[in-house]
Symmetry: C2
Subunit: 349 residues, 2 copies
């Protein structure tokens, strides 16, 4: 597989060279050791090397659907085991006709009684349907004692853009009928982070009240191959590995010919003025580090209260894939808990 | 030189392999293009490729002194030209017997009349003596309309640890006789960032009042080769390039046999409890990204109000090397200005 990866990367880099031969420099091949500065759980994950499926891109819609169904079967088992372990109940339902899961911790904290977190799962607008998408929502419900509603939005290839965002908007509007906007937080990772940003951009455009706080984790803020870390962290990020695999495949099948620089697809091109407080997370090996920091810088320049975490040794979305008690997951979810606790309004407010 | 770099890196990686052969994976050689997402000035800097002097480590004290003197001659000219261009006056003096430069902008802003910024320059505890070290202080004085005192502390090889920190402490104590601690800010980049952290650790240990706010830019928080980005960004960072050059050389000649994990040398090992508000800056190509985020995470876990900026496309300390009007320098110094303006006390407070 390592040989295959090298060949594919060389092919990719040939393209790069074609337009930037006088404007690039070479980083020599190098082994990256397992850092001493991360949790044992993350060490074990890094020892396994890069995700071997990163460039197995399905070649048509039927193949996508088979790949998604296969991974969802495993994902659902893992997520339900996690819910059971953490004492989170999972209830299926619909809001405004969209499938959702209500995730309830063993105890909703008193200060969170009148608050709601909306969770938007990741998976490149193709993966993690149904219960296989709830894991991160379960972790947050348990960590902070929140009621979480996880949105099971429609996805590509059967439902390309704007179906996913339409579904998230429909659930957000339905939530607004039950909760004041300033008691609603929205969060999600990767595609879920990008959708969190797009949801607020669209709520602004539609004149809706904005959520009280949002936490887009390592957001897929640019569907095009634009941004430094798509190149600099190629082959380094153990989860996504390279744009030239699942990332490009998923971007193309979701955008389905729509302009990928539309802010509802690539929210880094949107106007963040007026956004509520934001907490962004990435990692030192994350291929979406630039997707994260470009959004952060643009938000700060627009006067938004935007905070950034970059976690040592972490690849894309790594905090969702570690046990809750690993230092990196504890840090990320602990920060999200403090963040929502600080910025979401309470009934007494 | 590229051939040389490869050979040196391979030698280094041989060592890495020796202790982590079963725990590492290989990142293939790859060209990194100039990002579309950075300023024209940064693009030009990246187009020049990596710093060709990164591994020209002087072999004895006399050779260090010659290398420092050579680079200081150029550095002083650049710094004085910058001061003149930005309308900052430079006055030589001493505080508590330590050489300092008082940097005064054309106008000290009204709200900054009774505030002081202490600047601690970078340079690996060996480079940038005298006026060659004031550039960053000049930029900050001009950007925010602050009175800045830049500390010309003693350095290796003639004055190894703890001379540099002793001098910074002496100036801080002298400043405390003129300003309440909560109107004093401390900032600096690289070694100056590490010293900013060490100064607060030592002020805590000595029971002194702490400064009102500090901004350690991409701080040299770990003098040992510990932390993910020393490895992952090897050959990528255009400024420092690799630990196995000037970094190791400077660490050894400054520490001079002292334990490099002493928090006064490697402040990441210190206890940050009780620190004032902190603003940290790094970049997506910075070999000190881990030096920065390890400090950030530890501070947040200690309950410190610590904020992080990671600037797109930037290598180590890049914001100090760009024109003031480049987007990256504007962002960094603009954030520092807002930060000190927000957190330093004023006379009326």
């Amino acid at each position: 597989m390592r040989g295959v990866a090298k060949t594919v990367l060389s092919a990719v880099l040939g393209t790069v060279l074609a337009f930037s031969v006088a404007q690039a420099y070479e980083v020599p091949a190098h082994e990256v050791p397992v850092p001493d500065t991360v949790s044992d759980a993350l060490k074990k994950s890094i020892e396994r090397g890069v995700n071997r499926g990163w460039n197995h891109v399905p070649k048509d819609a039927a193949a996508w659907n088979r790949a998604v169904a296969n991974s969802a079967a495993h994902g659902e088992k893992r997520a339900m085991a996690l819910a059971s372990e953490l004492g989170v109940t999972v209830e299926e339902g619909t809001m405004a006709g969209v499938k959702v899961f209500t995730l309830l911790p063993s105890e909703v904290k008193p200060e969170n009684q009148d608050r709601l977190l909306l969770h938007i799962h990741g998976g490149g607008y193709v993966f993690s349907p149904g219960k296989s998408g709830i894991g991160e929502g379960v972790m947050m419900a348990a960590k902070g004692g929140y009621k979480v509603i996880s949105i099971d939005y429609r996805m590509a290839p059967d439902h390309p853009y704007p179906a996913a965002l339409d579904d998230a908007m429909a659930v957000y509007k339905a939530a607004l009928e039950q909760y004041p906007a300033d008691r609603i937080g929205v969060f999600g990772t990767s595609t879920g982070g990008g959708m969190t940003l797009a949801l607020v951009l669209r709520a602004k455009a539609e004149g809706l009240p904005l959520p009280g706080a949002i936490a887009p984790g390592t957001p897929w803020s640019d569907l095009t191959k634009t941004g430094d870390s798509y190149y600099t962290h190629e082959g380094l990020d153990t989860v996504l590995v390279s744009y030239e695999g699942m990332i490009r495949g998923a971007a193309e099948i979701y955008a389905a010919g729509h302009d990928m620089k539309d802010p509802y697809l690539s929210p880094v091109y949107g106007d963040f003025t007026g956004f509520p407080p934001v907490l962004l997370t990435s990692g030192t090996r994350d291929i979406f580090l630039s997707n994260t920091v470009r959004v952060h810088q643009k938000m700060r320049e627009a006067g938004v209260n935007a905070d950034l975490l970059v976690i040592e040794g972490l690849s894309h979305a790594g905090y969702c894939m570690l046990p809750m008690d690993a230092a990196e997951a504890r840090f990320h979810f602990g920060e999200l808990d403090r963040f929502f606790s600080k910025y979401l309004a309470k009934k007494a407010d």
